[in-house]
């Protein structure tokens, strides 16, 4: 359960939002919408513990969490704007490195099965340099699938994905919700999720 209390964020002199409060229970998703520059990314970065809010606090499982708190780093997976891929490494090496960085043990078979599940089987040994934007995003999806963390924080996860990729993303989020996970995503795309599990937060 993630809770935000009286969050205020500033970027330079501009105030992005003030007094923002919400609660997302286990098994629920919060979709953050809003025009460009309304603070979607900043909000996600605050929730992920990368940025300090100007005011207010974030509670995860009832405890207030400061930026870079150990508990949040163990429970959350953050997929940001940048895909965190290295051009020099192959798709498989990139995924392996990202999964190992989350201190979760996954066998080589699991990693390659995850790549197959996002239809990157043929690109496994190709350097990320030659992959398309959508294919790069799919590596991020494969990582989500392997992470098994209770909290997903997704910043524009649907960008550059084709309709099959979007379906895959929706399916993964639905699966995460069904298993009691929490998802917070900033996106412009309509995701076909069970309505009773999803709330929307519009920033303006």
């Amino acid at each position: 359960m993630l809770e935000a209390q009286d969050l205020t964020a500033r970027r330079g002199a501009a105030t992005l939002f003030t007094g923002l409060a919400f609660r997302v229970d286990a098994g629920r998703a919060l979709i953050i919408t809003g025009a460009n520059g309304t603070g979607k990314t900043t909000l996600l970065r605050i929730l992920a513990g990368l940025t300090m809010p100007a005011e207010g606090n974030v509670r995860w499982r009832g405890d207030p969490v400061a930026p870079f708190s150990q508990q949040l780093r163990e429970d959350a997976v953050f997929v940001g704007h940048a895909p965190a891929l290295k051009d020099e490494l192959t798709a498989e090496e990139n995924l392996r490195a990202l999964v190992d960085l989350t201190a979760t043990h996954r066998s080589a078979a699991e990693v390659s099965a995850a790549l197959t599940s996002v239809a990157l089987d043929a690109q496994r040994k190709l350097p990320a340099r030659v992959l398309s934007q959508g294919q790069r995003r799919r590596i991020g999806l494969a990582r989500l699938g392997l992470s098994r963390r209770p909290l997903w924080l997704l910043d524009e996860p649907a960008t550059a994905l084709d309709s099959a990729g979007l379906g895959l993303l929706t399916q993964m989020i639905a699966q995460q919700l069904a298993t009691g996970g929490t998802v917070i995503a900033a996106t412009h795309h309509a995701l076909d999720l069970p309505a009773e599990r999803v709330a929307t937060l519009a920033l303006s």
Binding site: T51, P67, Q71, E74, D75, F78, P83, L89, T102, H105
Partner: protein, 237 residues
Amino acid sequence: MTGALALSASEAPFGVGAAVRWAVVRDLRLALRSRAELGVQLLFYVIVVSLFPLASSPERTLLATMGPGVIWVAALLASLLSLPRLFASDFADGTLEQIALSPFPLPALVSGKIVAHWLTTGVPIVVLAPLLGLQYGLDPPILGVVTLALLIGTPILSLLGAIGAALTLGVRGGGSLVALLVLPLCVPVLIFGAGAADAMRAGLSASAHISLLAAGLLIALVAAPFATAAAVRIALD
């Protein structure tokens, strides 16, 4: 809180060793995939050292006097040249965010990156030093001392450099700013490093200089990873 910790602890043996290994393996692999970049920096070192005898008098005693100092300055510059690479590309492609959000301790991950930096830049500098020293007609014992001092001193350059590289993340023109930040900090390393050879040539023991260098290395080893980790977190905010 404890439940979450216990769960993660049983799921994976995460700790300092695994974190350092992750960063070293990954950065070494990346460095090997972009060998040209490493070659450029090493060539820079070789050329700088080789230019001095050409530009100054070929007199044997003069060359032998300035040789160790030139090698040290060139090592320092070559090590600086590769510093922007240490964090900047990870910062640009979002990997640094993931590193900072990893459950592994950030100072350990940062240490791994510094170790990889030293292995790819410091070690070649040390290995080439005896060869380059021959151009200055340095005697074998002096060559030995220069190499030993570099072996202890180059990790300090990587450690101090990492702090500077992390502090200048996201700053425009960060590359030259790193040099401004780090060069003054490296002065003691330079003094004791080059001084070791001087002492040896004057017929004294170099052990005082070497011990001071080693003490500096220990301090940097303990302090630099934490300072760098703090700087990385500030840069991501």
